[in-house]
């Protein structure tokens, strides 16, 4: 009797994804076959992987050794609870995105659908392998596969120069990050030549080398996740990519970087130092504030969401840092609390950010417009997309009763316990960090109100928007799936914490589940009900009841006297869509308050202009502080080196000849 272990099922899933991708090549231009058959099949495989991970959670680790790889260095795979949580995330998010993608791809948009199908499923399979890899070699192969396939997905519409540019920037930073990760693995093998993760765990690292490995991993995975200052690819690549790809990258791929960071800092690098946490927290805070501020001032809806992803990654880094601090001082319960918050936020963000990106995809297809200034009032034409986007927006803004609130609330709970830290400086600094996190959460709410309000509410800013059509059935199913998950993550926190507890327990030795399970399933009280508790279901019921009662009251009291009229115009003569608040106008207070943070190029109209206009371009200061000087340096050095390239073959041969002679003379025994 052949029994299939969960790890086998996951391997089969990865292979099936690859097979689906290759099948797509057989009929690259057959949109019907690729869209209506292959992508839903991929979604089914995703569901299988997710369910397998769900079933596995809590079990003991499984290993497998594949016969492929280098001689004497086969691929080692391992499925443990940390992996399972992220496979769960990958699988369930994929279901929604793949189903959406089934209805999304159209004829004549960039790469042939079959080819995109191959790249997309290769991307999925390599992400799964990244999570399963148990040696540095397999990890790097999968990691690079992930980077390359996503690069081709980003540049799907490669006829536009700006998209090619975005793809190049992405690939460049991905490679810089990969080098750092490779070096980190190299440090962790301690020269033993054993590249399996087991071998790394067995090494006794000195604090110096462990810290070096951690910092390299932070830089490398930070580049992929979008931590400052390696974030610049993110707001370029996400708008360039097709929407399902943006959703996949933002929702899932960024989380693989968080996975890597967790794997290295808790599992491989040895006992953490307390200052590791401070570094992660500092970078995370800076990233979160930066991300949310830039998110609030964007006028391109996908860029807005991309910056919002940066903010969420920042929050995750803050959570990770706090966990490291608690863990290094042996305060395992609190570490478990913040680590649970990190896992929860990973899940929550994966789902709601994919949902939002997919909604922008639907809007983009319906209107061919990404600029917020040309959208508006779409809730009348696209009610499905608008209401489902509202779910994502509420979650993203961190409002109860949806998923974003739970994780941010858990994180803040963790902060509230930080005065117990046995370190006077940390005692003083960490509460400030809590305040910054609260600020970020509030500004995220602002950015989300802007996103939803400008796109879906008010009047249509362009007459062409009247022809906008709602999302098709496939797209609706995908969106509903993700919105449903968001709701589930929001109202069943105790159940979800019970699931991810196995991973927390694996990394820290203790979990939150016994604390949480001590109370009823509908109440979440991470430490004790006396301190803080949260009952999402009651919250949801109250909101629903209030809405229903309000509606009933309005019906009863004003029945028959309701009429639709234009809003009161304060007596102005001119009235129309142009008189609405614009995206730029909406975020003007943020731009004003945080002016030093932005690099703005503004044009103000003067009284003598024949055609007065106002424009504002918000640029990233890091371009001017870090990247452009670096580019200038590299250009300078390469100009010097170009001098070597005379063009004469004899000279080139002379170079190698002289090198050979010198080496022979120098390396004499």
């Amino acid at each position: 009797m052949l029994t299939l272990l969960p790890i086998d099922v996951l391997l089969i899933s990865a292979c099936t994804w690859l097979a689906i991708g290759v099948t797509g090549l057989a009929a690259p231009h057959n949109l019907r076959f690729v869209g209506k058959f292959l992508f839903p099949l991929g979604a089914l495989v995703g569901l299988l992987a997710g369910l397998t991970a769900l079933e596995f959670l809590g079990a003991s680790p499984e290993v497998a050794v594949l016969a492929i790889g280098l001689p004497n260095l086969p691929f080692h795979l391992r499925l443990d609870n940390l992996t399972a949580v992220f496979v769960l995330l990958l699988g369930f998010t994929t279901v929604g995105i793949s189903i959406f993608a089934a209805g999304y791809f159209r004829k004549g948009e960039g790469t042939a659908p079959g080819l995109q199908c191959l790249q997309y499923h290769f991307f999925l399979a390599s992400m799964l392998l990244v999570l399963l890899a148990d040696d540095a070699y397999a990890f790097m192969v999968a990691w690079e596969g992930m980077a390359l396939s996503s690069f081709f997905l980003v540049t799907a519409d490669h006829r536009h120069a700006e998209i090619r540019r975005a793809g190049y920037l992405y690939l460049l930073i991905a490679h810089v990050g990969a080098i750092a990760i490779l070096l980190s693995f190299g440090v962790m093998t301690s020269g033993s030549g054993d590249y399996t993760f087991d071998g790394m765990r067995a090494q006794a690292h000195t604090p110096f080398w462990a810290s070096l490995a951690y910092l390299l991993a932070l830089a490398g995975f930070g580049a992929k996740a979008g931590l400052l200052p390696l974030h610049v690819w993110l707001p370029e690549a996400h708008p360039a990519a097709p929407s399902p790809v943006s959703a996949m990258m933002s929702g899932v791929m960024l989380k693989t970087a968080i996975y890597g960071l967790l794997r290295v800092s808790f599992d491989l690098a040895g006992a953490p130092q307390w200052w590791w946490g401070v570094v992660a927290m500092g970078i995370g805070l800076a990233t979160a504030v930066f991300g949310v501020l830039y998110s609030a001032v964007q006028s391109d809806m996908k860029r807005l969401l991309a910056y919002s992803s940066i903010e969420n990654i920042g929050l995750l880094a803050v959570g990770l840092g706090l966990t490291l601090i608690f863990h290094s001082y042996g305060m395992e319960i609190l570490a478990a609390l913040t680590l649970t918050a990190v896992f929860y936020h990973c899940l929550a963000h994966a789902v709601f950010k994919s949902l939002l990106f997919l909604c922008t995809g639907s809007v983009l297809h319906a209107t061919r417009e990404r600029s917020l200034g040309k959208l508006g009032g779409l809730i009348h034409r696209m009610p499905w997309v608008a209401w489902l986007a509202l779910v994502g927006v509420i979650a993203s803004a961190g409002l109860p009763p949806l998923s974003g609130f739970v994780s941010e609330w858990l994180l803040l709970q963790g902060f509230l316990f930080s005065p117990g830290l046995p370190h006077p400086w940390l005692n003083m600094v960490v509460p400030v960090a809590a305040a910054v996190v609260a600020l970020v959460a509030a500004l995220a709410g602002f950015a989300m109100v802007k996103f939803f309000g400008i796109v879906f509410l008010g009047q249509m800013r362009e007459p062409a928007l009247k022809d906008a059509r709602d999302a098709g059935p496939w797209e609706r199913v995908g969106l509903v799936w993700l919105a449903g998950l968001t709701l589930l993550l929001g109202v069943l926190p105790s159940t979800v914490i019970g699931l991810i507890d196995a991973a927390t327990r694996q990394l820290l030795g203790t979990g939150l589940a016994d604390k949480v399970d001590a109370h009823s399933w509908w109440m979440l009280a991470p430490i004790s009900p006396a301190r803080a508790s949260y009952e999402p279901l009651i919250f949801l019921a109250t909101i629903v009841a209030a809405a229903l009662i309000g509606r009933a009251l309005v019906r009863r009291l004003y029945h028959g006297r309701m009429r639709r009229t234009p809003a009161w115009d304060c007596g102005y003569i001119f009235r129309g869509p142009r008189a609405q608040d614009t995206a730029e106008g909406f975020s003007q207070p943020i731009r004003r308050i945080f002016e030093p943070m932005f690099r703005m190029e503004r044009h103000f109209p003067t009284s003598r202009d024949a055609q007065p206009y106002y424009s504002v371009k918000v640029g990233d200061r890091f371009w001017y502080w870090l990247y452009l000087p670096l580019v200038r340096l590299v250009n300078g050095v390469s100009t010097l080196i170009t001098g070597l390239q005379g063009g004469r073959i004899a000279i080139y041969l002379l170079y190698s000849f002289l090198t050979l002679i010198v080496l022979l003379l120098v390396a004499r025994p």
Partner: protein, 222 residues
């Protein structure tokens, strides 16, 4: 010469010095066809030297190497090069970047360097052929020098192939030859390399109406 040296060792040294002599002859040669013939002669001598080594040491696989050398370097490659010269109508005169006497002087310096460098290595080696390592290295460097100082693409290929001769000699003299797999691989490399370069010649001539590599200077960036 050392009187108590066995005949085989003397033969090997003789062949090695003939190879070196031929390398100098190639460096000094002005005519393309003669150059190719010299190269074929070098291949033949290499084959003979390998045969002697194989016979003396009883290494069976060296017979195969010798046969391969004969087939490839003494017969096939010279034939291909002859064909190329005929088809391309190469001018028989070779133009050198540095004049021939100066090149020869540089070559002598290179031989001294090679012997100097090879001395400590050949002392470590236990093989009967260890004395020829310096010669092998010198042949490599001389071939390299030929590639640098000549302007015709075809002489560059001959230089490249002659360099491989030197490497082969070094392998036989230091360790009684490389493993058969490696040797086969290199032989194939050389053959394919020569064929690809032949194709390139046609392309280069098509483009520039000449095989002079100075024309390739235009190909650089900016």
């Amino acid at each position: 010469m050392n009187a108590d040296m066995p005949l085989s060792a003397q033969l090997i040294n003789l062949f090695a010095s003939v190879i070196l002599l031929l390398a100098f002859a190639m460096l000094a040669q002005r005519r393309v066809l003669t150059l190719i013939n010299l190269f074929a002669l070098q291949g033949l001598t290499l084959c003979l030297s390998t045969l002697v080594v194989a016979f003396t040491t009883g290494q069976a696989h060296l017979y195969w190497s010798a046969a391969l050398t004969l087939l490839l370097k003494a017969l096939l490659l010279p034939w291909i090069l002859h064909q190329l010269v005929r088809k391309l109508n190469v001018k028989s005169e070779i133009e050198a970047l540095i004049n021939i006497p100066a090149t020869m002087l540089v070559g002598i310096v290179l031989v001294m360097v090679a012997f100097n460098v090879a001395l400590p290595i050949s002392e470590l080696s236990q093989t009967i052929t260890r004395g020829t390592l310096g010669i092998a290295l010198a042949v490599v460097l001389l071939a390299f020098l030929m590639m640098i100082t000549r302007q015709k693409a075809i002489t560059q290929v001959v230089g490249f192939l002659s360099m491989e001769n030197g490497l082969f000699l070094a392998a036989t003299s230091a360790t009684y030859g490389m493993p058969m797999v490696v040797e086969l691989g290199i032989a194939l490399d050389v053959l394919i390399g020569a064929i690809i370069l032949g194709v390139f010649f046609f392309q280069i001539r098509e483009q520039f109406d000449s095989l002079d590599i100075r024309h390739l200077e235009k190909l650089k960036e900016r």
